[in-house]
């Protein structure tokens, strides 16, 4: 039976809302990026000056390369841990079921609270982390004020909060593998490694891809931990690009034209990464 009613009418409110509240501000950002505009004094037309200023700023390049480094390292570490833990807790035991529920907890805590919590835990003078390191007779680094420890701190916090997300997705993927397929491979005498490589992995790859894509997108926009945990310190050593936009375009400086140019670059950058990942994935799937 053909459905009554007009689907365009059903989608119209959502499309209008998204256009007005997301795509319109982005278009406006493109427009104001052509102005030298030190808010609230009036804007002055500047052509592409903001973009040339951006591309000749050392801080731009360091924030951007920090972001690439941050996303790549954190993603690889989290994925490895998540796969190991998912394989570890996939069997149904009482302990494993409890662990699966517990995994939900860190990612539900507001990121601001997680940042503040770890700012306390990592405090070099009175924080518990260095207290335990002291008790063990280990060196007690200045976690938040020194490189590379500040990066370790940021990565540890993100692992703590967001690896559970990947673990839960990998578990869902593992459960989607039909058990008789694995058993058939067992009967054929496949080793544990080749069972995983040739039976399980190809089947869980699509789900791993979705989880990975969402994780990369969220890592790219990471903000709270840099803002509240390291505050970009030491120097501008832990500036991520999101922090660069916030500080160069809004907080303190209010150079909104310059900030808008930086935003547009980030939008294109994120888009390019998303498209690359999707294309890589399809190439990988075609080969598998």
């Amino acid at each position: 039976m053909k459905m009554k009613g007009n689907p365009n009418l059903l989608l119209l409110p959502a499309m209008i809302y998204i256009t007005v509240v997301t795509f319109f501000p982005e278009a406006y950002a493109v427009y104001i990026s052509a102005f030298r505009w030190l808010f609230p004094s009036p804007p002055v037309y500047a052509g592409l000056d903001n973009y040339t200023a951006l591309f000749s700023s050392d801080l731009f390049y360091s924030s951007l390369s920090n972001t690439v480094f941050w996303v790549a390292v954190t993603y690889v570490v989290e994925t490895s841990i998540a796969l190991a833990v998912a394989l570890l807790i996939q069997r149904d035991s009482r302990l494993n079921k409890f662990t699966r529920t517990l995994l939900i907890v860190p990612m539900m805590i507001p990121p601001v609270i997680v940042s503040e919590l770890w700012a306390y835990l990592f405090n070099p003078v009175y924080g518990p982390v260095n207290y335990f390191l002291h008790a063990l007779g280990a060196p007690q680094p200045d976690w938040l004020g020194h490189l590379p420890e500040a990066w370790y701190a940021l990565i540890i916090v993100d692992i703590w909060q967001w690896t559970p997300f990947l673990i839960l997705i990998f578990l869902a993927a593992l459960y989607s593998v039909p058990p008789d397929l694995v058993e058939a491979a067992e009967v054929d005498g496949a080793s544990t490694v080749s069972k995983f490589r040739y039976v399980t992995l190809p089947l869980i790859l699509p789900i791993m891809f979705i989880g990975g894509l969402l994780r990369v997108v969220d890592l790219l926009r990471s903000f709270e931990n840099v803002m509240l945990l390291t505050r970009g310190n030491p120097g501008q050593g832990t500036w991520l690009y999101s922090f660069f936009i916030f500080y160069q375009g809004l907080a303190g400086s209010l150079q909104v034209g310059y900030g808008a140019a930086a935003s547009i670059v980030f939008l294109l950058f994120t888009g390019a990464i998303v498209v690359t990942i999707i294309m890589l994935y399809f190439r990988l799937m075609a080969r598998a």
Partner: protein
Amino acid sequence: MKQNRLSVAMQSLLVLLVCLSIIAPIFFMFLTSIKSNVAIFTSQIFNFAPTLEGWKTIVFASGTAKSVGGDWPLYFWNSLIVSLASTAIALLIGLPAAYGLARYDFKRKNFTAFMILSVRLIPPIAFLIPAYLIILFLNIQHTYISVIMFYIVFQIPFVVWIMRGFIEQVPKAVEEAAALDGASQLYMFVRILLPLAVDGLIITSVLCILQSWNEFLLGFTFLSGDSVTLPVAAAHLADYALISWNMEFVVGMISALPPIVLAILVQKHLVRGLTLGMVKG
């Protein structure tokens, strides 16, 4: 056999280690919330005299607490209003779209679905500056509406993508039978279809609420004074030169509890929700 039992014990030990690493930081958050600031700054990790001073300041003394960080029951209320209002509006806008994508074939259907999804992929920081200028221009800074209007746009992809999947699972025959009985389309959707997709509706609402409840960047930029939400107020509280950690973590416990409870209640569908319905968890 003996080898097997040993490896099971090893596995359990590793799982316990995973649990410990999740629980320990939260345990310290609780422990610190019942310490005096003196005990905290002198690094009395375990041997301290418990006190409820932080809890009392945040929960009860809203009037006098103004001097030490603000009116916390009000901020809780702000968070609640902003989360519930944005979720309600996002459902109102998103549900028809989800239904349209689930039940109709039309030109550019995949393109439309992807356009809605793309909002989930845009980093909020990339439209923070133009959005801020628009809010100043409309003169609605420091109001609920300033954040609600943007939270809705983050929530719409969740509503559309998750609900589309759940609606597709309901057999079309249900609607066809209702149509033969002469039910109107709206009646059919609200009274027949939604109750059959109620799991989806619950997980969608919970994820929408969580998203607004935990949001920081826009709230921090647009709100101030009496309009701030809990995460924003928590960040301001931590900005004092001599931070009151016990108060900070009382706020932490209070603002973390509702999302955790909600998420555990909808545990069964959580993975499916978090991946916008793209993974059937």
